[in-house]
Symmetry: C2
Subunit: 150 residues, 2 copies
């Protein structure tokens, strides 16, 4: 099944029985969302990119993008293509001199880099069928910036 | 002045009046060390590389190295070339098809990637003169693994 384009709704902290976990929420279509639990550091980097923040020194994902730029490599798309035991898998589709390469990555890295490059972020339809939820079914979410502030 | 080759002694948590800060310690020669304060996440990544850990999914720096490898790019060296107000600046010297490029980076990213690529890590002599200390002058250091363990 073909991948479906999606939008990064934001990074949040999802409250659950064990405490709180950072998550990036992808908005697929209408009220369909795909929440992906990620690391706090990766969440902060995605948050920084969504807010067009320019840190005083390049974060690791900023360095990555500078790197792509300097070597004339473009990120064509990020495709989140499978999920197993709650772990999501993704591939970055990259191109240099009309030569295409696919590199396996964690969705959090792919999204952090993808937003910075304005690359398309896609999710395989199979993954959506398996894991997407209606926005109303999402757990209690707190915007990560207010979480970090206090 | 030419850069001097150094060895990554390890990542530690340095106790100080304000609490504790992660630091990477570079061993320059004899008992001369250069402590560089870095982020906790970056410290954990350097620690993972020093211990040849293979995480279940690639960390961002592992992804970076996979990336270099797949595009036939080699990291020739990391040069830490200046320090200003306690902030260290570094450059990665990269090569693809005999074409050399220099990219500005934080030393923590450069070291995390450099160890994984077995690239030389160097420090400008000027920086050593300005900031290196004798090992006996280092603050109280705790190995980061024991710190992480509790």
């Amino acid at each position: 099944m073909p991948p479906v384009s999606c939008r990064v709704k934001g990074v949040f902290v999802a409250k659950n029985a064990l405490g709180a976990s950072p998550a990036v929420i992808l908005s697929v279509e209408n009220d369909t969302c795909l929440p992906i639990y990620i690391g706090l550091w990766e969440a902060m980097s995605i948050h920084s990119a969504l807010n067009n923040e320019i840190p005083p020194r390049p974060l690791t994902h900023d360095l990555f993008v500078e790197f792509l730029d300097r070597f004339g490599i473009s990120l064509k798309a990020l495709i989140i293509d499978s999920v197993e035991d709650g772990v999501y898998y993704a591939n970055m589709i990259l191109e240099q001199d009309h030569h295409e390469l696919t590199i396996d990555c964690r969705p959090s890295d792919g999204i952090a880099i993808g937003i910075r490059c304005q690359a398309g972020i896609m999710v395989d339809e199979e993954v959506i069928l398996q894991s997407a939820v209606n926005a109303s079914e999402l757990p209690d979410l707190v915007d990560i910036s207010s979480y970090l502030a206090g």
